[in-house]
């Protein structure tokens, strides 16, 4: 059962360094052969690379997800969005990161029973405090193990 009181809570701000080798690994795992990812010294990140932020979260940040109390066996990823105001971050960039729980709501599914939607937003800012990327994730806790999200 998802903890609805988690709305409005957020992680402390923490730092994430964008690393060239990690971009290369991620690009390879997603079937890209782009030189801009694999060879450039200041390689740009791939559109979904910032999902690797989990490697940088301190225990206090991971606590946000623990407090949500979502059942892992019934957890589905509903939606994911990345916004970049300009050229995405590059290898060597140091980003300041905060994730907040934006919204939690219920919806009746056709086969999965009642579903709970949890929307989180992560802001990535540069040294000047400028937002250089934003991620929004919708997680779904289903009533029982479904075969599709039906979202």
């Amino acid at each position: 059962m998802v903890n609805h009181n988690a709305v409005g809570t957020h992680t402390p701000t923490f730092e994430m360094t964008v690393e060239r080798g990690k971009i290369r690994e991620f690009a390879r795992a997603t079937s890209s052969t782009e030189a801009a990812y694999l060879d450039d010294e200041d390689a740009v990140i791939t559109p979904t690379f910032l999902t690797t932020v989990t490697f940088w979260q301190p225990p206090e940040a991971a606590a946000l997800y623990k407090d949500l109390d979502i059942d892992g066996r019934r957890l589905l990823h509903g939606e994911q969005e990345y916004l970049f105001p300009g050229v995405p971050p590059r290898a060597g960039d140091r980003l300041h990161v905060t994730t907040a729980v934006e919204e939690i709501y219920e919806k009746e599914g056709k086969r999965g029973g009642s579903m709970t939607f949890v929307v989180t937003r992560t802001d990535f800012t540069d040294a000047d405090g400028r937002v250089v990327a934003q991620a929004r994730a919708t997680a779904i806790e289903t009533g029982r193990a479904p075969t599709t999200t039906e979202a």
Binding site: F26, L83, P88
Partner: protein
């Protein structure tokens, strides 16, 4: 770069990924840091009511992103959004397609919006998506 025709309704050339293997899932999980056992631990997947392990949604999303950036340029992405539909299983081949839905200028650069779909070969829609790309550098060789 392959795309120079940026009119509304223009269809990007389709691209096939796979067939996907459990190793592809595990490699993606290692790269991304998402170690949910439902994508690699058969016993865990069955205990959750699934026949076997299934792919990480974000792997399909990443493949769809690769489809876009290979055509439109890695530095040009401004928005990338996916909605996960059907799960993707070991052995699935995925087909990515895209269509230009808008051509406009924003933040002093020309941009296009795309509608995106990933279909499971012999199955249904795995992902639908939307993307925005800047287009002022298209046609140049930025390799």
């Amino acid at each position: 770069m392959a795309i120079t025709n940026l009119e509304v309704g223009h269809k990007l050339p389709a691209r096939t990924f796979g067939p996907l293997t459990r190793t592809d899932f595990v490699r993606y999980q290692g790269a991304s840091g998402d170690f949910n056992p439902i994508h690699h631990d058969e016993e865990f997947a069955r205990s959750a009511g699934f026949e076997t392990v299934f792919s990480v949604g974000m792997l399909q999303a990443g493949l769809l992103a690769t489809y876009c950036t290979d055509l439109l340029g890695p530095a040009n992405v401004r928005r990338f959004k996916v909605q996960f539909r059907e799960q993707v299983w070991p052995g699935d081949t995925l087909v990515a397609v895209g269509e230009v839905t808008a051509v406009y200028e924003a933040d002093e650069e020309p941009r296009i919006d795309l509608d995106l779909t990933v279909t499971r070969d012999g199955g249904g829609v795995a992902i639908t998506g939307l993307a925005t790309f800047a287009t002022d550098e298209l046609g140049e060789d930025d390799d």
